[in-house]
């Protein structure tokens, strides 16, 4: 047909988008390049003795066990919840949805803090019920803390897929003689696979990169090993190798996900509007059972951290610790705000390239932009330590370096909303304004900017909130005297000062709550 974007009418991208976009793509490659450079400094014998030893195997085993454990537990929690809130007539589905998404506001290390705070002689359980149990740690503790924090990612993916499945797919399967059970296994489940995989990818990458929860649970995985290597016995070459191994694991997870997804292409074909599936009605008993399950999940993932926090907060007056908390808050803000602005500014040309000037170059740049997201944060931060020590000495332990690292690490987050907004601002809208007498510049002011403003601000807010609670990168790149909320919480918890850590945990939860609020509002708009 006569669409506006046929192959023939493709225009070349103007330099003001191309050059910054290429620079962003290259900036993403620099850290990896530098890690490789450091890692290959040593001769082969040294490397072999560092890398090929039983400890590496143990770390690999532990990392795999943790990823597998979290994926299984988080899916077991998320899948029934997604089905209940989208495909049944359960009363109070909307409330259940909010309850189930809210744990996103409780980062893994806060969840770990809560689990630890529950236990012990001075802990919540003993004080309230006279019930002491040992401090959770190791694989079980880390799996619990991370699953309770990450399951909403899988839930949200499954929910979106379940909500979008075309009823005519399932109905035609029924018409072809399949029982409801067969329909579930042969139609619904295969349809959900891509959503499940992308949920697993997000959670898998998070678990591989997580540092706070595993460190507090003292579970030896690669990120923990990298941290101790950096903090105590600083061996650059071994640290670089650990970082590269982590990156390799992350890349292989991404590779597997894309391999699995290749065979699963389930976009609707054909025209006509899709039909929403009908809801299964739940009678009283299953409804009660469903709510029991929802309550159990909410109690564990929300009630637990909130009540433990309330317990420790009430243990000591708040006022004296307020000035320190405010300073800490200010430290976090002073880095998060410029990071958000920079990430937004860097993401804009990349998004414009992707949406308006699709080409092999722009898709390559857009892939590179995800490096910051995919590379485990400790490895990413270590690369920046090397770079600054290597040939940008004044940047070492500076605010600027932390801001740059954040903006690159979270660029992908800002990219999503900006790209979505640009898709909304179709080229025909700009042409319509031109034909109504507006010059190119006033088209930008009157049409393009109002349309993408929301997306740009949305992307920046995401980066801001994530940066506010970020731990591992801050840990390695913290400027001297920089005590963000996350760093203070982490160091106090790891020293066993649970009372002193509580206000910081509360501040982080409130802030992360904002993030969840953004997600929920965004979702509500699309419902």
């Amino acid at each position: 047909m006569t669409t506006l974007v046929t192959g023939g009418r493709k225009r070349a991208a103007p330099a003001i988008f191309v050059i910054p976009a290429i620079l962003v793509g290259l900036a993403m490659l620099v850290p990896i390049f530098y890690l490789v450079l450091r890692a290959t400094e040593a001769d082969f014998g040294t490397v072999a003795s560092l890398v090929f030893r039983p400890r590496t195997g143990q770390l690999l085993l532990n990392t795999t066990a943790l990823v597998a454990g979290v994926l299984i537990l988080a899916t077991a929690i998320a899948a029934p919840l997604a089905w209940l809130t989208t495909r049944t007539s359960l009363k109070g589905r909307r409330i259940a949805h909010i309850l189930v998404v809210l744990p996103l506001a409780v980062p893994g290390y806060v969840m770990a803090y809560a689990l630890i705070g529950l236990s012990g002689y001075y802990g919540f359980m003993n004080t309230l019920f006279g019930w002491t149990f040992p401090r959770p740690q190791g694989w079980l503790g880390a799996t619990l803390a991370l699953s309770l924090y990450t399951y909403p990612y899988i839930y949200l993916n499954l929910r979106a897929a379940l909500g979008s499945i075309d009823a005519s797919l399932e109905e035609s399967a029924r018409a072809l003689g399949a029982s409801p059970r067969e329909v579930f296994f042969r139609v619904t489940l295969p349809y959900l696979r891509p959503a499940l995989f992308s949920g697993w990818l997000v959670v898998g990458l998070y678990v591989i990169g997580d540092f706070g929860a595993v460190a507090l649970m003292r579970y030896e995985v690669f990120s923990y090993a990298l941290y101790t290597q950096y903090a105590a016995a600083y061996d650059r070459i071994y640290a670089a190798w650990l970082a590269l191994i982590m990156i390799t694991i992350a890349v292989s997870v991404i590779w597997w996900e894309s391999k699995l997804r290749e065979g699963a292409h389930f976009a609707r074909t054909g025209t006509g509007s899709g039909v929403r599936s009908s809801l299964s009605s739940l009678s009283t008993l299953p409804s009660v059972a469903a709510w029991c399950f929802i309550a159990l999940v909410a109690l564990a993932s929300l009630g637990l951290p909130v009540s433990v926090l309330a317990f420790w907060l009430s243990a000591e007056p708040l006022l004296p610790s307020l000035p320190a908390l405010l300073t800490s808050f200010w430290h976090s803000v002073s880095v998060a705000v410029p990071s958000a602005l920079l990430a937004g500014a860097l993401a804009l040309p990349v998004a414009v390239m992707a949406v308006r000037y699709p080409s092999p170059l722009s898709s390559a740049i857009n892939r590179l932009a995800f490096i910051g997201y995919a590379v485990p944060p400790l490895a990413f931060a270590l690369a920046f330590v090397f770079i600054s020590l290597g040939f940008a000495r004044p940047l070492y332990q500076s605010h600027l370096l932390l801001v740059i690292a954040y903006s690159l690490a979270f660029l992908a987050l800002a990219l999503g909303p900006i790209r979505a907004a640009l898709y909304l601002a179709r080229p025909s809208l700009e042409e319509a304004a031109r034909s109504l007498g507006y010059s190119p510049l006033s088209v930008v002011a009157h049409v393009v900017f109002p349309l993408i403003r929301r997306g740009v601000i949305g992307g920046m807010v995401l980066v801001f909130v994530i940066a506010m609670k970020e731990l591992p990168i801050a840990f390695l790149l913290a400027p001297t005297g920089y005590r963000s909320l996350a760093i203070t919480l982490f160091s106090r918890t790891s020293e066993g000062m649970l009372v002193n850590a509580a206000p910081y945990a509360a501040a982080i939860i409130i802030f992360s709550g904002l993030f969840v609020g953004v997600v929920l509002r965004h979702e509500a708009k699309h419902d």
């Binding site: 006569t2 319509a432 109504l436 349309l451």
Partner: protein, 354 residues
């Protein structure tokens, strides 16, 4: 059907395109390969052709969204070839309507009126919305409107600054079939009422025939014929036009003055000609008479309500012919095939009185 009284032919053409050429780097051949046409004030032109024929590119060249590699465009005698779209004062209605999603219906309509005073803007906007019958939806947002309403808002927005010329890119393709027929007469009425000339791009011949004062049939980057709907339909300039507009029977023949010899007898032709020609006979130009000694036999039929379409084998060829339903012919009936009027012809023959 075609009211041509409102086309002003006293002065020169409103728009004149001369030898427009446009190449796209990634495509083989030119998208537009030497297109010339004129539009009179108040005239409604349809650019008709299959997809990829260059009709949309011609429209975008006229609107200023593309620049020609060669050729000129003048508006009211002024060369506008290198003017950007905003300096041309030509209205454009997009296939997807391109309503600004962040602005209300009223703000969309007022968008092109920013140089007018606030009071004038309000007055003109109200007047335009009144004209398209959407006065009570002024404060709605575009996504709250149906497809047909969105299109009327797009038209009101385009017509608000009173452009002398409006370009419409497949304006009905996003509407469902029932709404399309209704809307196109509405659009024709609105354009005539506003006194704007218009160029409409479409691949739907029925739409072009119903809407336009003149039709330009395009193929492979060129205009093959530009004439009134009646002319284009009855006297196609070549075989492509004949096949594209309505169903035509292409019959090889040997012309000899006012008659042309075919496999199934002599047919009257619409001008004198000698030598080998091809005739373009519309199905309804044939007359079918059941006759035992007829020259053809019915081999298929399609019931169409008020009439029937028959396939008739005559000699070695299959002919489509339309006959009224009162003469129901069964398959196998022998028939005589004649024509009711002189038929159109074309191709390598020497015209006597050209």
């Amino acid at each position: 059907m075609t009211e041509t009284a409102d086309i002003d032919r006293s002065s020169g053409p409103l728009l004149a395109a001369r030898d427009l050429v446009r190449h796209f780097p990634s495509a083989r051949g030119a998208a537009v390969a030497g297109v010339s046409f004129e539009v009179m004030p108040g005239e409604l032109i349809a650019l008709l052709g299959p997809s990829g024929c260059g009709k949309t590119t011609t429209l975008r060249l006229t609107g200023g969204f593309e620049r020609p590699d060669a050729g000129t465009i003048s508006l009211n005698g002024r060369d506008v070839t290198n003017l950007p779209p905003e300096k041309r004062g030509i209205g454009f209605v997009f296939q997807d309507y391109a309503l600004f999603p962040h602005l209300s219906v009223a703000a969309n309509v007022a968008f092109g009126l920013r140089h007018a005073s606030a009071a004038d803007q309000r007055k003109r906007t109200a007047q335009m919305l009144e004209m398209v019958g959407l006065a009570d939806l002024a404060e709605r947002m575009p996504h709250q409107l149906s497809g047909g309403q969105q299109q009327r808002v797009a038209l009101a927005r385009t017509l608000a600054p009173a452009p002398p010329l409006v370009l419409l890119d497949e304006p009905f393709s996003n509407l469902d079939a029932a709404l399309r027929v209704e809307t196109r007469q509405e659009v024709r009425r609105l354009l005539k009422q506003a006194g704007s000339a218009a160029i409409l791009v479409t691949h739907d011949q029925e739409e072009a025939l119903a809407l336009a004062d003149r039709i330009a049939v395009m193929h492979a980057g060129r205009i093959l014929q530009m004439s009134t709907p009646d002319d284009v339909y009855r006297r196609p300039a070549d075989e492509f036009v004949a096949r594209f507009i309505g169903r035509s029977n292409i019959v090889p023949a040997c012309a000899n003055g006012f008659l042309a010899q075919t496999d199934f007898g002599d047919l009257a032709i619409d001008r004198t000609m000698y030598g080998n020609v091809r005739l373009a006979v519309k199905p309804e130009q044939f007359v079918l008479t059941p006759a035992e000694d007829g020259n053809g036999v019915v081999i298929g039929r399609e019931f169409r309500g008020h009439d029937q379409l028959y396939w008739v084998r005559v000699g070695g060829t299959e002919i489509m012919a339309i006959a009224a339903t009162n003469s129901l012919l069964t398959i196998g009936t022998p028939v005589r095939l004649t024509t009711s009027e002189p038929v159109a012809l074309f191709e390598q023959a020497v015209a006597e009185n050209s």
